[in-house]
Symmetry: D2
Subunit: 337 residues, 4 copies
């Protein structure tokens, strides 16, 4: 932590800051410039966290030197995290493709989709049983009944299954049926939910919030990890900007930024980012080329009949075609698919 | 709902859309332009909600004519909602000032603040017992112990008390101690929480999400109201933009926009919007001048010692001075304070 | 300038940075923390500007301690700038109201507006002769003919007149007719235009770019001032965000932020910010309450006939009513109007 | 154009709108819903452009059905535009790589870079002679001297050369030396400059403004094209968002969106988008995979000595390595490189 004093700060103000630092058992390192005095804090800055030193007289600003997330930080864990689930894995040398409908609507809809995405190459089936919808009058999901269909699909196809959870109660139920929990964008800073997901020990896919910075996102991952669950996968799904041609703006740069800052796997959801079916394939290829560990893609037997997100869903045929197109890109990126 | 066909759409595509509309028991109204054909849908469009008509061949786009929120919509409820709490009220002719610390830290801290803000003119004491913090290593709140102090403060001063809730469990506990529940920005689209808050019947202050449009915010209010709780107050607290001089960007225009679209009271939180103590007073005055029904302001006996949000908290003296400055502005705006 | 090294940076990397600093005739101040080493640079950092020291091995990041704008900076010029134009002024104790049509359409349109806004209390007439329009097929302005009408209006009413300029040629022409030049939002970083406006010595109103940070805006003002023209007024007119209920989002916090960072006068344009006539009055009142030095408001004899920006223009009657409403707000804010 | 009336609009208001439409020689098509009446306008809506019909009594909103850009619109020009320059081309089946320093600093710097990028596979040399810099105290470019070095580099290497222009005067000078003009992000809506560039007939690379929507960008292209110059290439270089990990946020989705809306070639500048050298390669690969027609990349003989944008520049070796990596991606995307 570095404390920058206002230009021409009085010696008494500088001494006051130094004393505060020392009173917390830390060392202050003084650097007097021509215009500005800077005070470095040496030691564990957590001790100063509640001192609000930025309110001391003539303090201009505080610069934090170290990130507040530790477990998710590549600096303290240089090797890539690999999440093993039986015969499959997420991370390092594998391209993981998760596919399925936005919302689970019926057993037949889910099973037919499971068979189709399995055949095309997916290793995970996605499907929403608890749907966070903007309007209370939209379809809200089949809840536990949907989870039962997920389990059936898993048993029949051997796919791993992942489902979004939106409350502690949903986590408790879902934990009995699925291989992986998903925390959605709207709940990325629902810290109670993050802690509950952390306690289960089940792998968690954490979607980025619509307006979350990458550092806030990594701090959200830290909530899950600090409960003892280090099996976290980050999923970029578009951020909110002024551009309205797409539902959200896919922040493709998040892939290399995350690869630098964290050891956790990173996957991309081009369906929610684009919101338009025709843009899903180019964004999926871009994601693989940028170095993503996987993709999450919406697929529906009949997009025009879907109860949620039809316009961005691929048909079985579209998805099969996309998987074929993706194979050589995965190979170039050094990933098995 | 209006359906705009692509230029030169084939008659078969147009007939297909018309048939879909009629199959849902609605009437289609055809308007053939030189370049473009437009089809109006007459009747209850909710019947079409799951038809994904935008995926039909040669459909260019869909334009919704009516809002999806009903209970919060001024069109169907022209008169201002007034929320009555014993001898005080929120809305219509009153400027409601809520003040207190970001986080409840001790009984003494809370009681001294309650006395000071009451004296200056506040009618509500705010204070956080459950704190959603970006990092899991920051102070997370005193929970039920903090709520007990709130109750004590209420009994001693006669102030109404409001506290943020972050989980169904917190709502259950808080309901025994407070007059009003607060849903924070990070939980604005935590729909499970909104529904739980709706079920209590206790007045709810709903903060705007960092990246929520005004229409998404009104839909979030609709979640609470559709559970039978119409006592909702909207609180603008800054949105996320590219500008970093302030913690968030206060969207002051939200006041007149909301006054047009909804009958619910609107209050402004200049403390979280600014993130800097010196900007709180000018923004508070601007809010009153723009027509807000109230203010929520952070006050702390010793901002430099605060466990949370110290830099944006006012001292007792600052707050007292601000209230004096606000009085003539409230009078100009036709509000008692 | 502060240089933060990566955790565990090697002594050779640290020595390399120190040597670079010393080679530029500056002093390096070393601060070794437990995890991180920090190097302060003492002396005129401009000497280091081209050294790209952030590319040196094991440098984590660079923190700038001082702003790059000097002439616009309140630190070096603590007193408010007042711009005197004959019997009127902008800044300090005065509320300056500029009003008029978006585009000058005819002599009669401009003169009737001039008379009406003068009567209501404006001291400046605004009117566009060179219109930067999103589409090349929209009305582009009357150019010099429009400027002549401005001059006529000035002579008849005694109002000062201001007009937007969009090219060096337009500046040359406008300089013969108007009292103040306006640089629009789209040209805020058209640095050639800023320099040309700087050379004229005529007062300049500099609108904020749609996506310009406050610091970029002050650097744009610095371009004008560094040509010897210190008569610059800053005009906030809304920034681009995700919210679409208003044409732009008025950043009302810019008023207190600018008052802290610069000595230049600050005015608000609620018309372009809102884009909707009904929101202009509440935003104008908020601007005065927040401490703005003035307002720029679009007024048109017949908004429904306007060739540009009709939806956000006030009628004569609306404007007169608004001026009456603003008077007590101006008085409260300590400004003559 | 569709006009949506307010719920319960009076017959007189509806008749008034119909009359206005008919008075402009157009046909009105009435569609009366249960709640809302909608009026379609049949005919050339340009006739209505100045009528401000949205201000008529009880009009709720106006929906535009057709885009305002025509020459740039794929609807009226379905085939891809290919820009031919002697033996090379931009668009359709080719991956065009433009590379070079941000700013031209010396003949030796430019020539050595030209040789290196030519050898690696670039067909265009980029280099700035007129630099729009945020602060007036930063290096502003060598101007005509720099252009002479560009010409020398072209003659020696056979590369095509492109240079940013920032004023009418710069266009006049640059036209004598370069093969292609670049309009930078800050000048995307400097309409005078666009018109001047249009008049030259020289191919123009138009960068997207920091906060420009895709439709505004296409309208800016329309300004150039409407002067008779149809050789326009669009260059996405990152938009401004709340995320600060990268200098800007690369909007990779702009590639498929533009491919749908326009026939003009699209290239990506990953250097300015990222602002960080390590992110350039993954973004460049993503751009090719998403379907871009080319790349513009900053290369410098010594990034650590660069007078501008050093942190985001590649060394010769980096660039050569990137070109080798890009080749199989170009092949997969069906492009020669």
């Amino acid at each position: 932590m570095i404390i920058i004093m206002k230009p021409g700060a009085k010696p008494a103000s500088i001494q006051n800051v130094i004393k505060t630092i020392q009173d917390h058992g830390l060392r202050a390192h003084l650097s007097e410039g021509d215009q500005v005095t800077i005070i470095g804090v040496v030691g564990d800055k957590a001790r100063l966290a509640h001192s609000n030193i930025q309110l001391a007289p003539e303090v201009e600003k505080i610069v934090n030197v170290t990130e507040s997330y530790k477990l998710a930080n590549r600096k303290f864990h240089p090797d890539d995290t690999i999440i093993h689930l039986d015969h499959t894995q997420i991370g390092s040398g594998i391209l993981t493709v998760m596919a399925g409908p936005c919302a689970i609507e019926s057993e037949e809809q889910l099973l037919s989709t499971a068979r189709a995405v399995k055949k095309a190459g997916a290793t995970f089936l996605r499907g929403g049983a608890y749907k966070p919808r903007t309007s209370p009058y939209s379809f809200q999901g089949l809840e536990e009944e949907g989870l039962k269909y997920m389990k059936t699909a898993r048993e029949e196809t051997g796919l791993k299954v992942i489902c979004e959870v939106t409350s502690a109660r949903a986590i408790e139920t879902a934990a009995r049926y699925v291989d992986m929990l998903q925390i959605g964008a709207r709940n990325m800073q629902n810290f109670e939910l993050l802690k509950e997901a952390g306690k289960t020990g089940i792998p968690v896919l954490l979607k980025r919030g619509l307006a979350a910075t990458i550092d806030e996102w990594l701090n959200a991952a830290e909530y899950i990890m600090s409960e003892g669950n280090e099996n976290v996968v980050l999923c970029e799904r578009g951020i909110r900007t002024f551009e309205t041609s797409t539902r959200n703006t896919l922040d493709i740069s998040a892939v290399p930024v995350l690869k630098e800052r964290t050891h956790l796997p990173v996957i991309i959801d081009p369906s929610h980012a684009a919101g338009v079916r025709a843009y899903v394939a180019p964004l999926a290829k871009a994601a693989v080329a940028a170095g993503a560990d996987g993709l999450m893609i919406e697929v529906h037997p009949c997009p025009a009949c879907a109860l949620s997100d039809g316009p961005q869903s691929l048909t079985f045929e579209d998805f099969d075609h996309l998987c074929q197109e993706l194979r050589p890109y995965a190979a170039l990126a050094g990933r098995e698919f």
